[in-house]
């Protein structure tokens, strides 16, 4: 009998129905969550600080490179984390063919659209729109 040099876990990995992926999603959800702790504290503070700000003030705010950079980071991490979390929630409550259409197509497409739109807005403000 050949000596098995692989651990039982190593042999089992990737053999499930999904083949691969779920551990990656699990890890990315946590990684983005850790990044979002400082980012969302900054963002909540930014929203409160700019409540009622004039157009000149809001343009000046995002004209600061660090504010624009942090906003884009928040958009990227927040949407990635929020959308993959939303897909888990939707997956729990939607069944049948609609499930695949929603999770594989509609939600990711909307997320990419929203993300690019938001980043373009930040760049317009940052570059003096």
């Amino acid at each position: 009998m050949a000596l098995k040099m692989q651990s039982p876990l190593g042999r089992a990995r990737g053999r499930g129905a999904a083949k691969s992926g779920i551990a990656h999603h699990w890890f990315m959800e946590r990684l983005t969550a850790v990044a979002l702790v400082p980012l969302m504290l900054w963002f909540v503070a930014a929203v409160i600080a700019n409540f009622g700000a004039s157009h000149a003030e809001i343009s000046a705010f995002f004209g600061q490179p660090w504010n624009a950079a942090l906003m884009i980071m928040t958009i990227l991490f927040g949407l990635y984390h929020g959308i993959s979390g939303l897909m888990i929630v939707l997956g729990d409550y939607i069944h049948g063919p609609a499930k695949h259409l929603t999770l594989a197509l509609a939600v990711p497409a909307l997320a990419v659209l929203a993300g690019i739109y938001l980043i373009v807005c930040v760049l317009i403000l940052a570059l003096g729109g």
Binding site: R30, A33, M40, I83, G85, L86
Partner: protein
């Protein structure tokens, strides 16, 4: 494993309990617990913050569009509906943030068990209330 107490409500599941098997929540023997409320609230606030993205899109989108469009949106955000939405959004975000840290603690193996979950749940409720109160106070002071 302590012997489960006998309850007439749980009689149909006696065998399951005796073998120390878990029991699903059951409508007739439901009892409110802080931990389960905090748990579902993490999910509800998570989805709420995703929906809040629409507000962020209106905010940044109108700002990028120019002063007139931005002023119209500011009129909405300054209305009672707008203020209510911003208060709800900030409260939900701060809850999800604090609760998320609790989840991350579990992920690294800290605070398991009924007692640990109950204690961190109380910490979470207090931290959320203080964070929200501070942010709202600063917001209203600047208003």
């Amino acid at each position: 494993m302590s012997e489960p107490r006998f309850s007439p409500h749980l009689a149909p599941y006696d065998n399951q309990l005796r073998r120390g098997r878990p029991l699903s929540p059951h409508l007739q023997v439901y009892r409110f617990a802080l931990t389960m409320f905090l748990s579902i609230t993490h999910r509800v606030t998570g989805v709420g913050v995703v929906l809040g993205t629409v507000m962020v899109m209106v905010w940044l989108g109108t700002a990028a569009a120019g002063p007139e469009t931005y002023a119209a949106a500011q009129g909405f955000f300054g209305s009672w509906v707008g203020v209510f939405l911003i208060l709800a959004w900030s409260a939900a975000t701060l809850y999800h943030l604090a609760s998320g840290i609790r989840f991350l603690m579990w992920d690294i193996g800290k605070g398991f068990g009924v007692e640990g979950a109950r204690r961190s749940g109380i910490v979470l409720a207090v931290v959320w209330a203080v964070l929200t109160a501070v942010v709202w106070a600063i917001g209203f002071a600047a208003w």
